[in-house]
């Protein structure tokens, strides 16, 4: 297989069989994602019910909203299956337009905590920067697959490719939503790399990206504090290091088997973000190291299955979409858990399927739907337009 990889896939199945059967439904991926979402709701109930009851008089406030968001994602996923695979690229373009408009609309909404991230619709708050991730993946993948094999053309392919995500990236950066900006940048980079970006550009990009990230963090003092708190959270235990210290205390009190489901105290006020960014600490406290390892293994399975689907995709578009999604989910998990572990500076990034966040939940379900869709198309060697 590795000797002649390009053809091995083609010859693995008879050409006509490949065109008739529509690949495989990845049950492992499906069950892992479903399990994570269900487990996320369970942990969220424990992590948020006290606060929900206190503020809204309804212990199920957050869990209810999250469930609706997941359902919404499911509905949108199923709807996406109505779009023929060949029409996906065009649909992506429309979606891009909608997201772009929403990201502009965001600036006319009142700022929350100093940033314009949400469009309040009363019953639900939409966070367009989450949807921007899908838009960037689909549209960039679409462009790069249309220019398959032309990655060495700096002016003809690479520069136009950079212009595709740029509007969304800039809008997100000015909200500001640094976490989403970072993810969108990483997604763009991933797609370019997978599409065949030359190694010199990868090296240069890595260098520039690293410098840019460092500079951005140094520009604003609150980012400096975050860096300090990540190197040594105890240096500012009651300030910028507070969350991380509280997360560590939660994990430590979990030990091997945890305090038991629903008996954690982190969410009683020690951890302000218990049901959002730091929900993994609640998992650690209530289920212990078993829960923590189970959680990380689940994300490894997601990445493994996602990568597999990317590799078996029918076309470059499929590979890019699958890998974009896989990277997005994987990177968010890595960054979120890295923050909790104190290995990365604090970032407002959710843990996919676990953290509370309606838009993120909807988007992540759609992403898994798309991944499964690519898997279903896998094995079909479609004609590249």
């Amino acid at each position: 297989m590795s000797a002649v990889p390009a053809t091995s896939l083609d010859t693995a199945r008879p050409p006509d069989a490949a065109s008739e059967t529509s690949g495989r439904f990845d049950w492992v991926l499906f069950l892992t994602a479903t399990g994570l979402a269900a487990f996320g709701l369970l942990m969220m109930l424990s992590a948020s019910s006290q606060q929900a009851d206190r503020i809204y008089g309804n212990a199920f406030h957050f869990v209810g909203r999250q469930t609706s968001a997941l359902g919404m994602g499911l509905a949108l996923s199923l709807a996406s299956y109505l779009v023929p695979w060949r029409q996906m690229k065009r649909a992506g373009l429309v979606f891009y337009g909608v997201v772009f408009s929403l990201l502009v609309v965001v600036f006319f909404m009142p700022a929350v905590n100093g940033s314009h991230r949400w469009i309040k619709l009363g019953f639900v708050n939409v966070q367009p920067s989450e949807y921007a991730k899908i838009a960037v993946i689909v549209v960039l993948a679409s462009y790069l697959s249309a220019n398959e094999g032309r990655m060495r053309d700096f002016w003809g392919t690479l520069v136009p490719a950079a212009f595709i995500p740029a509007p969304l990236l800039l809008l997100v950066l000015f909200e500001p939503d640094f976490g989403s900006f970072l993810i969108l940048t990483l997604l763009t980079a991933t797609l370019l790399v997978v599409a065949g970006l030359q190694k010199r550009w990868i090296a240069l990009g890595g260098l520039l990206g690293g410098t840019a990230v460092t500079l951005l963090m140094l520009i604003e003092p609150y980012r400096v504090r975050r860096i300090v708190s990540f190197v040594d959270p105890f240096a500012d235990e009651s300030g910028s290091g507070y969350q991380v210290v509280q997360g560590w205390i939660a994990l430590a009190s979990g030990g091997y088997f945890g305090q038991g489901l629903g008996t954690g105290v982190a969410q009683s006020g020690f951890l302000p973000e218990a049901h959002t960014d730091f929900i993994s600490a609640v998992v650690g406290e209530e289920i212990g190291v078993m829960g923590w390892i189970g959680l990380t293994v689940a994300y490894m399975v997601l990445v493994w299955r996602g990568t597999n689907i990317a590799a078996r995709a029918p076309d470059l578009f499929g590979t890019l979409v699958a890998m974009g999604i896989t990277t997005m989910l994987g990177m968010q998990a890595v960054i979120n858990l890295g923050v909790v572990c104190g290995m990365l500076p604090a970032k407002g990034l959710v843990l996919p399927f676990m953290s509370y966040g309606a838009s993120a939940a909807t988007v992540h379900v759609i992403c898994v739907g798309l991944l499964l869709r690519v898997g279903l198309e896998g094995g079909k060697e479609t004609v590249n337009p």
Partner: protein, 668 residues
């Protein structure tokens, strides 16, 4: 390749699809592997944080999330003889506020919260606001609130407010038997009554636990629950009968209305067992509220050692009968109401000539019993007082019990022997008096007073059982019966205790009106009392009623104490189901002229020094010699006229005189 040829104008050659796909798959796998590697690292790091936390994390965590507290196990209950709870512990809600969170709210919202709380808690809004704006993270707004009130507070959904439950002592009968039950202070220590005396048994063990708590410092789980269960306090079963206690307290409250005394107390004893069915004192207090005054907390029944006065006479008479020195029908010369003993003179309020011993009891003759005391002599007489339980602790588990004082046979002076016979110069607690009277009713056998029957652990297994305990035989059955029969004449027409009659039952009792000793001297104030047995023919209850300093109406025991005694006796017997004697059910009209014993029984000729001046006694009727002896060494200038007995003095009795001042006495 072919594509490069097809598009020759493109400077950069187009790669083949297969090489692009191959590279894409390869790079995808590398990225995927990198992500899995990163996740593995995080899995390991997170696992390390879980199971091998650094000392700093452990320290910070234990500071924040654990506190070491001393938990007290449930306090035992105090129950009456029928198992009704007199004291028990319940977990009641406390409403608290976190002022730090309040400070983050806008002022108008704080104001509206305060208004709602003021409504719910029934506290002035300004008071609520003041507490909400104190410093710190925990301020108590109200404790021991009703669970409904706590629910209303919870329903406000204000983050800064919360409720938690704490064990609180609760006394369902409120003022009932408050001095016997006692109360528990804010730190859980028994104060007064059984709560204090049996604190060790009631309080239960303490468990020191490291307790996990949440952000507000509240208990999360109860790791100590098992340990606490095992250390629960013991339940104390008392002999108090809630119903009789209630009857007794009601009767005392009537005394308060009628006589306005400083205090009034009563004790009801079951004669056969020595069980204390009721101990009541007014004023009383509500142990549910922290009593401020110490006066209502006093259990006069055990902490007061009073001079009993005439209610002591039955013991003197019983001793003399037991010694075979007299009998109920023996004629005794009561000297016409005045009898000189040494330099003093003993008086009877109603002068009597020669009367029977029974009449000495009936009319309460001081002279009659004084003569018996001399006939017995101190060496024979005083041991009987000890046998009746005087001068020693009864051993009842109540704090501050007094021993009382019986004079020493070796040092007693003749006049003291005489006054001891009618209850002066001797002190006794009302409980001792009631137990002594009960001894007469129990055919001469003195029982140990029993207040606690059983102390059970939290699961009802008895730890300690107190059975009725006879202490000793004080007198023979025959003597006891004769004494009781003599006491029964007290309530007959012409006796001093007619007001103590109870329709349907024969009452054997004795009135008492004693001069109250204040600052070491006899004063005008009186302690009025009635002690007795009912029914006299087969005694069931011994009851003592003591009225300390009646200020309205009569001060005589036969009038101030006897009616209340009768009420207690009648209602209690009916409640206990003791059948009345039909022959006695026809209520005899009580004499309007109640015979009263009186005071002062003894006129001492000794001058009383109050620190500044002499109090001059009444010398009238005294011979010259007595007066001279009395005034010797006083430093007063004495003028005497005539001879024989004194008929007049100037200044009159009671006037304070300083040394050097003059006193004139005329004799005839």
């Amino acid at each position: 390749m072919s594509t490069a040829i097809e598009i020759p104008r493109v400077e950069v050659p187009v790669e083949t699809r297969s090489s692009v796909r191959r590279r894409a798959r390869g790079r995808a796998r590398i990225i995927g592997a990198a992500l899995v590697l990163a996740l593995s690292g995080l899995a390991a790091r997170g696992a390390q944080l879980c199971v091998e936390p650094s000392d700093r994390v452990i320290h910070a965590g234990s500071m924040l999330r654990y506190d070491q507290v001393t938990l007290r196990a449930r306090r035992g209950e105090i129950l009456d003889r029928n198992g009704r709870r007199l004291a028990f512990s319940v977990e009641t809600p406390t409403v608290a506020v976190d002022p730090q969170l309040i400070a983050e709210l806008p002022p108008d919202e704080v104001d509206s919260i305060a208004a709602k709380l003021s409504d719910i808690l029934g506290m002035p809004k300004s008071d609520v606001l003041e507490r909400m704006q104190r410093s710190g993270r925990y301020v108590k707004l109200a404790s021991k609130v009703h669970p409904k009130v706590a629910a209303q507070v919870d329903d406000l959904h204000v983050e800064a407010l919360w409720t938690h439950r704490d064990p609180q002592r609760y006394y369902p009968e409120e003022n009932l038997a408050s001095q016997v039950v006692g109360f528990v202070d804010a730190s859980g220590n028994g104060r007064a009554g059984l709560e204090q005396a049996l604190d060790d048994e009631l309080r239960g063990g303490t468990v020191i636990v490291s307790r996990r708590r949440d952000r507000k410092g509240l208990d999360v789980d109860r790791p100590a629950a098992v340990a606490l269960d095992a250390n629960q306090g013991m339940d104390v079963h008392t002999t108090i009968d809630r119903q009789i206690q209630h009857i007794t307290e009601e009767a005392l409250l009537e005394i308060v209305t009628l006589s306005a005394p400083v205090s009034a107390s009563a004790v009801v004893v079951d004669i056969k067992t020595g069980d204390i069915l009721a101990i009541a004192n007014v004023p009383e207090f509500n142990p549910n509220a922290m009593p401020e005054d110490s006066e209502p907390r006093k259990n006069h029944i055990v902490v007061d050692a009073i001079e009993p006065g005439s209610i002591f006479k039955p013991f003197t008479i019983a001793a003399a009968v037991e010694l075979g020195l007299t009998s109920p029908d023996e004629k005794i010369d009561c000297e016409g109401g005045s009898w000189a003993v040494g330099r003093s003179r003993i008086h009877d309020d109603h002068p009597h000539g020669v009367v029977t011993l029974t009449e000495v009891m009936k009319y309460s003759s001081n002279i009659g019993v004084a003569k018996l005391a001399f006939r017995m002599g101190a060496d024979a007489f005083l041991p009987y007082l000890h046998a009746f339980g005087f001068g020693q602790l009864s051993g009842v588990p109540l704090p501050g019990e007094r021993r009382g004082r019986v004079r020493d046979a070796k040092t007693i002076r003749p006049i003291e022997l005489a006054t001891t016979a009618f209850g002066q110069g001797t002190t006794a607690t009302p409980l001792q008096l009631a137990m002594g009277i009960a001894t007469l009713g129990n055919e001469g056998v003195r029982m140990k007073p029993r207040l606690v029957t059983r102390i059970d652990d939290a699961y009802g297994v008895p730890e300690r059982i107190q059975k009725p305990t006879p202490v000793e035989r004080a007198i023979s059955i025959e003597t006891a019966r004769q004494t009781v029969a003599m006491m029964a004449t007290v309530t007959e027409d012409g006796g001093t205790g007619t007001r103590a009659r109870v329709p349907g039952y024969l009452v054997a009792g004795k009135t008492g009106t004693a001069q109250k000793v204040k600052d070491g001297h006899y004063s005008d104030a009186r302690i009025s009392s009635f002690v007795g047995l009912i029914p006299a023919d087969h005694p069931v209850l011994a009851i003592a009623v003591i009225v300390d300093e009646p200020t309205i109406g009569s001060k005589y025991g036969g009038l101030a104490a006897a009616p209340a005694w009768a009420k207690i006796a009648e209602k209690s017997l009916r409640y206990l189901g003791v059948d009345p004697d039909p022959a006695l059910l026809v209520e005899k009209p009580v004499d309007d002229m109640v015979a009263v014993e009186d005071l002062p029984a003894v006129e001492s000729l000794d001058l009383a020094w109050d620190g500044d001046a002499w109090g001059v006694p009444d010398f009238r009727g005294r011979p010259v010699r007595d007066v001279l002896v009395a005034l010797k060494g006083s430093g007063l200038a004495v003028e005497m006229f005539g001879s024989g007995e004194a008929i007049a003095q100037d200044p009159p009795a009671g006037t304070p005189l300083t040394p050097g001042q003059k006193i004139s006495i005329t004799f005839q």
